[in-house]
């Protein structure tokens, strides 16, 4: 056998013209993933990208792997079929806030609950881009859009909260333009056997520009993001002077400052990514009162759906042995007419 040729970013780029708007966060995500692919040691031919409909869902056309651009909201269901047909395949789902949480919310719920071994990347730009800017299920209250000219009135969904509620065993959050943060998060998602849900804050420069500036701009980033690391105290802010402490009276996290009111690093809660209750609290944190958590919020390894399905099949086949189809048809009550 030939020694495997080391692949590069170029090997994962197609000859198709990328058709996102100039400045779209999707470009950065695409580049990070194309760069990540050679490091994953998955044969290119075993990699499949499945998407639904929306700006993010154009993604498979630009990946030199197998790809399927499907219909609105249904990528998780189609990807489930791909994985069931061949569990050896490494299947990625690319979706957005409208595709994955509005029209496809039911499929997202069930793919996470079932724990099908997929990497699900939800590009959250809090807007419908491809249909020209209507508000989405993650848009903040008051979002003015062609369909909500006086501001939206309904409560947005928090994708990571939804995923945890649906029973996801891997939930993470990262930011479009931050390859250094995204790459290790996606590696973790890929290594996790089961449904891995990754929310990516993604800027739409045309219809919702700058909504994530608070967490991306150097000036405000330190105070508005909590970079999670398993086993480490949850510190943030300039020089990590702030932290999150569990208030045992209210059972809620609170922001404290080291050195104030005798607070030391020992008072700061340590991140435990296997703690579901903590993950739910982290998923709910939002600015300006709290920093927003990025990194792996929750990770718990459990058996994946398709492995259980094939395990059952193996057991039945071992029990029944090699079976002849004609013989099965002739079982039970039969009679001969001569």
């Amino acid at each position: 056998m030939n020694a495997p040729v080391k692949l590069t970013l170029k090997d994962f780029s197609t000859d198709q013209e990328v058709r996102w708007c100039p400045g779209c966060g999707d470009y950065a995500i695409l580049k990070t993933i194309q760069k990540l692919m050679p490091e994953l040691d998955t044969p290119k031919e075993n990699t499949v990208f499945v998407s639904g409909i929306g700006c993010s869902s154009r993604f498979p056309y630009y990946m030199e792997t197998y790809g399927f651009h499907t219909i609105h909201g249904r990528a998780p269901a189609i990807a489930t079929g791909v994985k069931l047909s061949n569990p050896e395949l490494d299947v990625w789902v690319v979706t957005g806030d409208g595709d994955g949480l509005s029209i496809g919310g039911n499929h997202m719920l069930h793919v996470l609950r079932r724990n099908v071994d997929l990497q699900i990347l939800l590009f959250n730009n809090e807007i419908y881009g491809l249909t020209k800017g209507q508000y989405s299920p993650t848009s903040q209250v008051g979002t003015r859009s062609p369909s909500t000219p006086d501001g939206s009135v309904d409560l947005p969904l928090r994708p990571c909260t939804f995923a945890l509620g649906a029973g996801a065993r891997f939930v993470a959050r990262t930011i479009d333009t931050e390859a250094k943060h995204m790459t290790p998060v996606l590696k973790r998602a890929h290594a996790h056997k089961g449904a891995s849900f990754v929310e990516i804050y993604q800027n739409c420069p045309v219809y919702n520009d700058g909504i994530f500036d608070y967490i991306k701009d150097k000036k405000s980033a330190a105070d508005s993001r909590l970079v999670l690391a398993h086993g480490e105290p949850m510190l943030f802010g300039v020089d990590n002077q702030k932290g999150l402490r569990l208030n045992t009276a209210t059972l809620q996290l609170e922001v404290v400052t080291l050195g104030e009111a005798d607070v030391t690093v020992d008072d700061i809660m340590v991140h435990d990514e296997t703690n579901l209750v903590l993950a739910q609290m982290l998923a709910a944190l939002s600015t300006p009162d709290f920093p927003e958590a990025v990194g792996v919020l929750y990770c718990k390894q459990e058996v994946s759906y398709e492995s259980s399905v094939y395990e059952q099949i193996k057991t039945v086949r071992a029990k029944k042995g090699v079976v002849d189809f004609n013989e099965v048809l002739r079982r039970g009550h039969t009679w001969t007419v001569s």
């Binding site: 056309y61 399927f68 269901a77 047909s85 086949r317 048809l329 039970g332």
Partner: protein
């Protein structure tokens, strides 16, 4: 005068060529379906040809004694070929007044009623809508009636087993079955075996049921039954020699899908969502993990079809199934399969509609949906099964068309076919021609848009194959490269080739045959789907008395066989019976510009032979 006159004389029943229709009717909790299926097995082993028609309410357990909760099982058996579940009843077994009032209209004058008088209480009579007890008020004088205190006798016969009153009473279906088995000289041993197996973990219940069965049988043997009631002896039917088993259409369809997968040399991924009356297909396939079948109960109809499409992209054959309303939900995804030219089989077990309609009743009103019920110019093959055992062959054919022409295929069955059973000449898979799938493996000159020049089928390259990485999707694709394309001429060309591929299937399917009668003449009765049985019998009866009438039954509804138009033009008149308001007839009229006439019925019940005979007579009478 009607050409066919049917009477229920015992003498007639004993004559050669005899056939009898028996219906068991009771509360949905009375075990009528179990009684019927056991009687069916015994009848098949007796050597009669038969057909059954289970007719049950949508309510799982309606309030006891309610007319809307009546569950019935009908069996038609005889010494001649049997292709329908029969028209009017010779024997009606009723477990309560509601069963009598809802079924009496179908009993022939002079027919036999067997009734449990213990169930004809004031409460049950009132609930059924009787003002007085029909067993006592003389209103049944036109029939022969056997009134037995069945409940009391059952309780006495199972007393040694110490069952509670509730469980003891539940044995009354077996007591009644024993009595009917005596009446028709059936062997009880299979039922005994079935009961031992069914209640393997509750031997006292098994023994009580067997005791009830035997007790009913010996009651009939020793009781002084009214005059004219004696053992019916139906001579054995003359059927094709070979090994037989009973099969419902749903069973045969499930086995046909497995067989199709084996002939195509490809695993099946079956993704479905529960819906009446289609769910039994999922149940049967889920029990056969020993074959290359993976079953998936999805979260909804859309997810089911999408998972099946994903599976086809992944390199197995995706199959999904539902009934009309569920097929509506799958519509958008079916068009994706058509646009991406992936194989897919969609089974529609039709039911009465629209909307929730009559979920447990039969209809064939989804033909228009199958042919036209999607956005844009989504064209796909549509085929229909005509009898329970035909479901096997049609399922194989659906797999062949899907895999050989890279297309979704719609297979139409219906509630009657799914639940009805008939003796099935067990097929030998080695006698079927294989059609192994050829996956592309060669990167040289590969494009996902490559086609087989003969069939126009798109190349199938599955993930995992080195060098063939490619993207497909719902956006229009360039004819040569498969890349996304919004080019005007290209869209015309792609639309044309998708249509040409499906139209071209006509070259790869058998020519339309005439199942009875001459291939040109006065009148052809043209049917599709489960109307096969009643049309066959009606035409047979009329031909026996010299009427010039033919029967043509269409399996391939899209595309039609190449010779169909020419064949139909060879008849002076065409009559199309359908269990809808006239869907095939409109297609035939518009496609072939022929003056086809219609005969329609949407009562949730199959056609009676008599209804088709009458329609033919009236049509011929008008034209004479």
């Amino acid at each position: 005068m009607s050409v066919v006159e049917k009477t229920s004389e015992v003498a007639a029943a004993n004559a050669a060529g005899a056939a009898v229709v028996v219906r068991f009717a009771g509360d949905s909790g009375d075990g009528m379906q179990l009684t019927g299926s056991n009687f069916t097995e015994a009848t098949a082993l007796h050597g009669n040809d038969l057909a059954t028609f289970p007719d049950f309410p949508a309510e799982i357990r309606a309030p006891a004694g309610a007319t809307f909760g009546v569950s019935a099982f009908q069996i038609y058996f005889g010494s001649d070929e049997v292709t329908t579940a029969g028209d009017d009843l010779d024997v009606l077994v009723v477990m309560n007044p509601a069963a009598l009032i809802t079924n009496l209209k179908d009993l022939l004058p002079g027919g036999l009623i067997i009734a449990d008088s213990d169930a004809f209480t004031d409460k049950n009579l009132a609930r059924a809508g009787y003002k007085s007890n029909p067993l006592e008020d003389g209103s049944l004088d036109g029939y022969r009636v056997i009134v037995i205190e069945i409940t009391k006798r059952v309780i006495a016969s199972v007393e040694p087993f110490g069952l509670s009153h509730k469980f003891a009473v539940r044995c009354k279906n077996m007591w009644t079955l024993g009595l009917v088995m005596w009446l028709f000289d059936r062997d009880r041993s299979i039922t005994v075996g079935n009961l031992e197996k069914k209640f393997a973990n509750k031997p006292d219940i098994a023994q009580a049921n067997i005791a009830a069965l035997n007790s009913g049988h010996s009651y009939a043997e020793t009781a002084e039954l009214p005059s004219g009631v004696e053992v019916y002896q139906i001579p054995r039917a003359e059927v094709k020699p070979g090994l037989y088993r009973n099969a419902t259409g749903s069973d045969a369809l499930a086995y046909g899908l497995i067989a199709g997968g084996r002939l195509a040399d490809i695993p099946i991924t079956f993704a479905s969502y529960p819906i009446t009356p289609a769910s039994s297909l999922l149940h049967t396939l889920a029990q056969h993990k020993e074959f290359d079948v993976v079953t998936f109960q999805a979260e909804d109809e859309i997810a089911a079809v999408c998972a099946a499409i994903g599976a086809s992209f992944g390199g197995t054959l995706g199959v999904t199934s539902s009934s009309g309303p569920g097929i509506s939900l799958k519509g958008e995804a079916i068009s994706l399969a058509s646009a991406t030219e992936l194989p897919l089989v969609i089974v529609n077990t039709q039911r009465g509609g629209p909307s929730t309609g009559l979920p447990t009743k039969t209809e064939q009103s989804d033909l228009n949906q199958a042919l036209f019920g999607r956005h844009a110019d989504t064209i796909l093959p549509v085929i229909a099964s005509s009898t329970p055992s035909d479901c096997f062959d049609v399922a194989i054919e659906a797999v062949r068309l899907a895999t050989q022409f890279s297309t979704p295929v719609l297979l139409l069955s219906d509630g009657y076919l799914a639940n009805a059973s008939e003796p099935w000449l067990v097929p030998d898979l080695t006698q079927f021609e294989a059609f192994p799938v050829q996956f592309e493996t060669n990167p040289e000159g590969f494009s996902p848009a490559n086609r087989n020049p003969e069939t126009l089928s798109r190349v199938w390259a599955k993930p995992g194959t080195p060098g063939l990485e490619h993207r497909i999707g719902g956006i229009e694709k360039d004819y040569d490269t498969g890349d996304i394309s919004y080019d005007a001429d290209n869209h015309q060309r792609m639309t044309d080739v998708r249509k040409a591929k499906i139209d071209g299937i006509a070259k790869f399917i058998p020519a339309q045959t005439v199942s009875q009668g001459p291939s040109a003449g006065h009148l052809a009765i043209v049917g599709w789907g489960s109307t096969y049985g009643p049309i066959h019998q009606a035409v047979k009866r009329l031909r026996a008395v010299g009427v010039d009438v033919s029967h043509i039954h269409i399996r391939y509804l899209m595309p039609f066989p190449e010779n169909l138009g020419e064949l139909l033009r060879g008849y002076e008149q065409i009559l199309v019976p359908e269990m809808n308001t006239g869907q095939l007839v409109e297609v035939l009229r518009s496609k072939f510009l022929i003056d086809a006439k219609r005969l329609n019925k949407v009562s949730g019940q199959p056609f009676k032979i008599r209804e088709i005979v009458d329609a033919i007579e009236s049509l011929l009478g008008e034209s004479a």
